[in-house]
Every structure is written in C-alpha cells, then in structure tokens.
C-alpha cells in the first residue's frame, strides 16, 4: 500500500532518515513505537506528504505521495496529535469536508459519535468543545471518511478513561480488510490488543518490523514470574508481582504480547532481537 524506498530526510542540521525503507501492507493495524525524537511523527508526516524527502521514493499504490495530489490525499487521513477544527457546527463541518472523501459514510459517522456518546452535538460549535471531545469528533470523522489508510499520532492523548476503552472498541469495529491503520503512540497499553504489526523506530532506524504473530513465535513474554535467569533473558524488569521478562521463544510456547516489555527489550538488545528475526529470513 505504502512503499518507502531509500528515503533521506533532514531538518536544518539533524539528519533524520538515511536510506530508510519500509512497506505498509493493506488490511493491518500497525503500531509505531519509539522514544521521543526517534522520528515517528516525521515518518507519519512523510507518509502523508506533509514533509518531503530529499531523496528516495515514497509512493501510495504507485503514486508519489510528496506531490500531495487529490487522488492520494483522498485515500490517506491523518489524525495528528494536535489538530485544528474550525469554529463551525459539526453539521457544517461534515457538510464542508465530507465531499472531499468519496467513500465517506454519514451513517458510520453517526455510529461513531454514538459510540463516543457525542451524537447530540449536531449544532454545537466545534470551537466550544473540550480537547478530548474534539479528538473524539475528529477521530469519528476520520474513520467515517473510510480512507484506505488512516494514520493516527498519539490518538489516546487527551482522552478520558472511558474514552480510552471506547477507543479500542471503536478501532476494532471500524477495521476491515480494505483498511490499514498506523498508530503511533507512547501509551502502549491503550493499543496493545489491537496491534497486528509492530514497528520500532530508534535513531531513524527500524529495529523491529514484524507481525504480532511472528513476535510471539520468536519471543516469549514472561509476565509476572517470580524467577528468571538474567543470562537467558533479553530484558527483565521488576513488576508488581515478580518480574516481566522478554526471552527468545526456544520452546515455541504461547505467550501474550506485552508491548512495553517488547519495546524495552528491543531497545536494550537490538542486535540480539535483529538476529532472532533475521535467522528465519535467511533460512527462507
């Protein structure tokens, strides 16, 4: 769906990406993780044509994204961490903006707003809403636009506690085989159960690019165990009850993906993790 091929990008003095490549496939929910300043938002902006790489190819279904052509823009929707909603009623906002998205569904928007308990907003000025309400409205619109690619940067920031749990159900109910979602967040527990593919970015390098199934196949997540052999583990952290640890899954045991442990483990032992994931590829 999105092909990023050997792109280079830099801010004034800081080189962010050099020969960076990535492929985003259709029908999956991607989780993009990384420390502050790792280049996550930059990557999201590049994928939407909001930033232009100095070198390389960035294409959506073969079309150059950096040209910001209507055909590309009507297929990619971005929900940034901070966004701007005009001082108009929701009704007017929908009327003025939905026309740009050929697959926009008003029914879906109504359902999404109902999901967030915001269905009575019709004539209320968007400028009068709280940040959390604005975010819910914007995400409802974004999903109703039915763009094949939906990019979200820190979508759960600013949401209240019920809003965060509503968000998970909301994403799950709006997902289809025709749609791809790319979610960048630090609040990993909010999206843990949704993620089908994990991307970990560090120093402008992809340390991990693997599906959840593949991760659980190759790594074992020991959650709340009382004893662990630190020599065996890729990463160990104390938990409320014992330890959380990340180990190579040598005995092919099933475990539940813990994104926080995975993230810390990959960052602590990038070479070992890379070797684990590369091994299979070289056998193939």
């Amino acid at each position: 769906m999105i092909e990023i091929e050997k792109i280079a990008f830099k801010y004034k003095k800081k080189q962010v990406f050099t020969d960076f490549s990535l492929t985003i496939e259709k029908g999956k929910i991607y989780g993009l993780l990384g420390k502050n300043g790792a280049g996550k938002s930059t990557l999201l902006y590049l994928m939407n044509g909001l930033l232009i790489p100095s070198k390389g190819k960035l294409a959506y279904l073969g079309q150059n994204v950096s040209g910001r052509s209507p055909r590309v823009l009507e297929n990619i929707f971005i929900v940034p961490e901070e966004f701007n909603l005009p001082n108009v009623s929701l009704k007017k906002y929908v009327k003025l903006n939905s026309t740009f998205y050929p697959k926009f569904s008003r029914q879906q928007l109504t359902d999404n707003l109902k999901h967030f308990e915001l269905d009575a907003l019709g004539d209320i000025n968007l400028g009068a809403l709280s940040m959390g309400q604005k975010k819910k409205v914007f995400m409802s619109f974004a999903l109703a636009a039915n763009t094949p690619l939906l990019i979200m940067d820190e979508p759960t920031n600013g949401l209240d506690i019920p809003g965060k749990s509503q968000f998970k159900k909301f994403i799950a109910s709006n997902m289809s085989d025709e749609r791809t979602m790319l979610i960048s967040t630090h609040q990993v527990q909010d999206i843990e159960k949704l993620i089908e593919h994990v991307l970990i970015l560090e120093n402008s390098r992809l340390l991990l690019d693997a599906s959840s199934d593949e991760i659980c196949q190759k790594l074992y997540f020991a959650n709340g165990v009382s004893q662990i052999d630190p020599k065996e583990a890729l990463y160990v952290s104390p938990a409320l009850q014992g330890y959380n640890a990340l180990l190579p899954n040598l005995s092919e045991e099933e475990s539940t993906l813990n994104l926080e442990t995975l993230f810390n483990g990959v960052l602590a032992n990038p070479e070992k993790v890379a070797a684990l994931f590369a091994k299979e590829e070289s056998l193939v």
């Binding site: 052509s69 823009l73 990619i76 005009p86 740009f100």
Partner: protein, 282 residues
C-alpha cells in the same frame, strides 16, 4: 476527476474556506467599510463646510468627486496589499498547515482559491464597501448641506478618454496612465502575496520592511551606476530619450514590464506553496 485542476473541487475548496472563516472575512469587510465611510464622510464634510458660500455648486461637487476618487484609489491599494499579505493565513501555524495541506485538493486549486479571494474577492468586497460608504456619505451630506450639489461618486471621472484638455475633474489624464497604475498596483499586490509565502506570521510588516530596504538599495545602486557612467542625470536622459520617444510607448512598456513581474511573482508564490511543508525546516 483531474488530478491537477478540477473546477468543481476548486469551488469546494473556496466554499470551505469562506464558510469556515466567514466571521474573519466579515470583520475585515466591516473594518474596510468603516475606514472608507469615515474617510469619505470627513472629506466631503470638510469640502462642503468650507464652500457653503460658493456659487458654482457643480464645481465644488466635481472637485470633491476628484478628491474622493483619489482617496478611494489609495484605499483600494492599501487594503489590497494588506489583504494580499493574508494569502497564507490558512497555514500560519502547524495545526492549520496540517489541516490545509491534507485537504484532498491539488496545490493549484488551493493556491488559486486563495488568490481568487485576495484578488477578485477583495476587489468585489472593496467596491461593495465603497458603494455602501458612499451611500451613507450622500445621505449625511444631503441632510447637512441641502443647498449643495450632492451625488454618488462618478467613476467615469477616473481617467480621461482623450488625452488633450486634461482637467474637468478627472483623476488621471488617460486610460494608459490608468492601466499603468493598475499594473503597478498588481505588482505591489503580487509582492505582498509572495511575501506571505515567506512569512506566514506578521507577513505585511515583514514584506513591507523588506520592500522598503530593497527599494532604497535599488535606487541607490541605480543612482551610483548612472553617476559613475554618465557624470550627471541629464547626460543619461539624453542617452535614454532616443530609445523610447513617445510617452504612450514608455507607459505601455512600463505597464508590460510590471505585468510580467506580477505574473512572475504569482507563479513564484505558487511554487513556494507547492514546496511548503508542515514543519518549516529552512
């Protein structure tokens, strides 16, 4: 739909812009109307109060008409460049840039819709505001000076059709001069449009400062070059005169030159917009 330009999509972008920002545009219109109204009512009142004893009422009216038209031309230019410097207002902060750049319309449609608003839209708004302000002036002056000749602005007196016998209340001696001034206005407007693509915040002040500095540098450079090559300006004029003899040719060439630079500036502004990004990197 065409991926570069589609008229229906242009109308959608324009409609979205106007409807989402109508309060700001309305405020700009009211400000413009207020300034015009205060200025022309003050000028008319001043003229009538000083000429209540005049016997030639028509002469006073023609004189006032000329002054008001001159003031209207200056106001048109001043408001025009201020409005032109708001070209990139939909992109003056990061969140607005994200919203605007991700609207599924082409760069041409986005820039053209903004250009239409600050050029054609502004022109229409100015003349509506001027007409409304003039109607109030006529009402106020008719009430205050019932014995004087009071009438609406006569736009036919902007430029004289025949170049001989200049006078009779005309603002400009010919249409050639009118077109020259119009091309100068568009040149100035295009500079402020271009400036808006460089500085999205306080664009007017920044562009104005740069233009003042550039004009001073340019004039000084020309002066020094001429004095270095020809000793004095008379000698330079002697060299220049045979090249372009008639005044109309000079005016025509200058209008053409300004128009070409205007087109160049508008094109450059489009190219600057096309390269704009969510984060200002350079």
């Amino acid at each position: 739909m065409n991926n570069v330009f589609d008229f229906k999509r242009l109308l959608l972008v324009l409609n979205k812009d106007i409807q989402e920002n109508w309060k700001r545009y309305a405020l700009q219109f009211v400000t413009m109307f207020g300034v015009i109204a205060v200025m022309i009512i003050f000028m008319a009142d001043d003229k009538y109060s000083k000429n209540t004893m005049a016997s030639d009422h028509h002469g006073v009216f023609m004189w006032l008409n000329k002054d008001l038209l001159t003031a209207a031309c200056w106001l048109f230019m001043m408001f025009g460049i201020v409005i032109a410097s708001t070209l990139m207002d939909p992109m003056n902060n990061k969140t607005k840039r994200i919203s605007y750049l991700t609207v599924p319309a082409s760069n041409v449609e986005k820039v053209f819709s903004r250009w239409l608003l600050v050029t054609v839209g502004y022109g229409i708004a100015f003349f509506v505001a001027l007409w409304m302000a003039d109607a109030i002036r006529v009402a106020v002056c008719s009430f205050n000076y019932p014995n004087m000749e009071v009438g609406f602005l006569d736009f036919g007196k902007i430029a004289q059709k025949q170049t001989n016998n200049f006078g009779d209340g005309y603002v400009l001696p010919s249409f050639a001069v009118f077109y020259l001034l119009l091309s100068m206005y568009f040149l100035l407007q295009s500079i402020f449009i271009l400036g808006a693509t460089f500085w999205e915040k306080a664009s007017f002040v920044k562009t104005f400062s740069v233009v003042v500095v550039l004009v001073i540098v340019f004039v000084l450079l020309c002066r020094w070059t001429i004095l270095l090559s020809y000793h004095d300006f008379d000698e330079f004029e002697k060299v220049l005169k045979p090249l372009v003899q008639s005044l109309d040719t000079r005016i025509g060439l200058m209008s053409l030159f300004f128009s070409v630079i205007t087109l160049f500036n508008w094109t450059l502004a489009f190219l600057r917009f096309r390269e704009s990004e969510v984060i200002k990197r350079f």
